[in-house]
């Protein structure tokens, strides 16, 4: 479970203060995927950083069942060391996340298999193509089997096929519905078309505030995109 209450955070001081988060509250249960749409500078990345514990908010609280150990983060950057192999990277991060030594090898193999990278496991990261590197980054984020996935513009730089593949994977990881417990997914993007299929809940963020926050229900992507356009352009 991921629960936040009354988050507020600003940057700068005096008259130059920028409000990045303003009274954001929500609770997500496993199996729920929240897609946050907002223009650049709306505070989406700040929100994710607060959820991940990178920024301590000035007000409000964050509760994640399982703490830092439960969080998987996929951002603009892969966090991989270019001169280590994919497997070495995975083992390193597994160790930091407290995966027991005996479980690290099998777990890495499992994640690599799931992402179709088993035959590239022993290649250094610098030798991978962009798409493969992105997959390796996802493998890194999943290595400790996180129950909360935080994604910051994960589709940036992916071609259509790769983006579709990632969406399918994320849908599978979210799970839920079919009896399985599933995971909490929070996805931030400025492009409605990219994330909406996956979402169970939709929020529009603007000037640090959720101007719209509701279950997706049966709404079509086109309808949500239209609502988003109106929410972002009016007043």
């Amino acid at each position: 479970m991921l629960s936040v209450e009354g988050l507020r955070h600003t940057f700068g001081e005096g008259g130059g203060q920028v409000v990045a988060l303003d009274g954001v509250s929500f609770t997500l249960m496993p199996g729920q995927a929240l897609a946050i749409f907002g223009p650049n500078g709306a505070g989406k990345t700040t929100l994710l950083k607060v959820l991940a514990g990178l920024i301590r908010p000035q007000a409000g609280s964050v509760q994640v069942t399982g703490g830092r150990r439960a969080i998987g983060w996929i951002g603009h950057q892969s966090h991989l060391y270019e001169h280590l192999t994919v497997r070495e990277n995975l083992l390193f991060w597994a160790s930091l996340y407290g995966v027991p030594a005996a479980r690290r090898g099998p777990r890495a193999a499992e994640v690599l298999g799931r992402l179709g990278m088993r035959d590239r496991a022993d290649r250094p990261v610098w030798s991978l193509s962009r798409g493969l590197a992105q997959r390796a980054a996802i493998a890194k984020a999943l290595i400790h089997d996180p129950s909360v996935l935080l994604l910051d513009e994960p589709f940036t730089g992916l071609d259509l096929a790769a983006a579709a593949e990632l969406r399918a994977l994320l849908g599978e990881l979210r799970g839920g519905g079919g009896g399985a417990a599933g995971r909490v997914v929070v996805l931030a993007t400025h492009n409605v078309d990219e994330g909406v299929e996956l979402a169970t809940d939709v929020a529009f963020q603007r000037h640090g505030r959720f101007v719209h926050f509701a279950p997706r229900g049966g709404r079509e992507p086109a309808g949500i995109a239209e609502a988003y356009r109106r929410a972002v352009t009016d007043g």
Binding site: F11, G12, E13, G14, G15, G16, Q17
Partner: protein, 226 residues
């Protein structure tokens, strides 16, 4: 009265006191037997040296409190104190050689005390450079606090190396454990000078603090409008 005005008044008062110190030092205090009139610079040199160190310690203390309280006023004070400390270090480093030339026969020697003030000066410069290299105010304050605390802890080590290193410097005659061996009238003049320097420090810091207050407010307005 604004803060800047208060600061200016304290500074003026301090400068008047300092002038009085020198009237007293030159006209009413005996000339030191061995060093002659050159010793007079000591009334300027030693209080400035003390405040160079004290200012660094205050920068460090402000840093400790900043890390716990996150109050931007503490950071502004640390910045002001560091800049005033730099000025005082400059006074020490200029008066030292002026005294050194007639007494030691050379402008500069790698005497441990002079050298340690030089390194304190470099420490201040580094501290101010780090402040200048970080744009985000919160980050800048945090980095400055960390560096300031380390600087504060470095001061006793610089001192310790003074006592261990062979030194040409006159042994401390005021702050030594036994009773001060300075003649009474010289000590009185010196204490007066120390008081003047304390006022000068307070005056400078107050003014500098007022400047950063105005600057922060202006910067705020500018980015606010943009």
């Amino acid at each position: 009265m604004t803060l800047a005005q208060k600061g200016r008044r304290i500074t003026v008062l301090a400068l008047v006191c300092l002038a009085a110190v020198y009237v007293r030092a030159l006209a009413f205090t005996p000339v030191e037997r061995l060093q002659g009139p050159a010793q007079k610079i000591f009334y300027l040199h030693v209080p400035a040296a003390l405040w160079t160190e004290a200012a660094m310690i205050l920068v460090g203390l402000a840093g400790i409190f900043y890390l716990f309280l996150k109050d931007p006023r503490l950071d502004r004070f640390a910045e002001a104190s560091a800049e005033v400390g730099t000025v005082f270090a400059t006074i020490v480093l200029t008066t030292g050689p002026i005294w050194g030339k007639p007494i030691w026969g050379t402008w500069w020697t790698w005497d441990a005390r002079l050298t340690s003030t030089l390194f304190l000066f470099f420490l201040y410069v580094g501290y101010l450079l780090v402040r200048g290299a970080v744009r985000d105010p919160g980050l800048r304050a945090r980095y400055a606090a960390v560096l300031g605390i380390c600087g504060m802890c470095l001061v006793p080590f610089i001192h310790l190396s003074v006592f261990l290193f062979r030194t040409l410097h006159p042994q401390p005659i005021i702050l030594k454990p036994s009773a001060p061996s300075l003649p009474g009238s010289m000590l009185a003049t010196w204490l007066f000078s120390l008081a003047a320097f304390t006022l000068l420090y307070v005056g400078f810091v107050t003014q500098r603090y007022a400047v950063s207050l105005t600057r922060d407010a202006q910067r705020g307005e500018r980015t606010g409008r943009a």
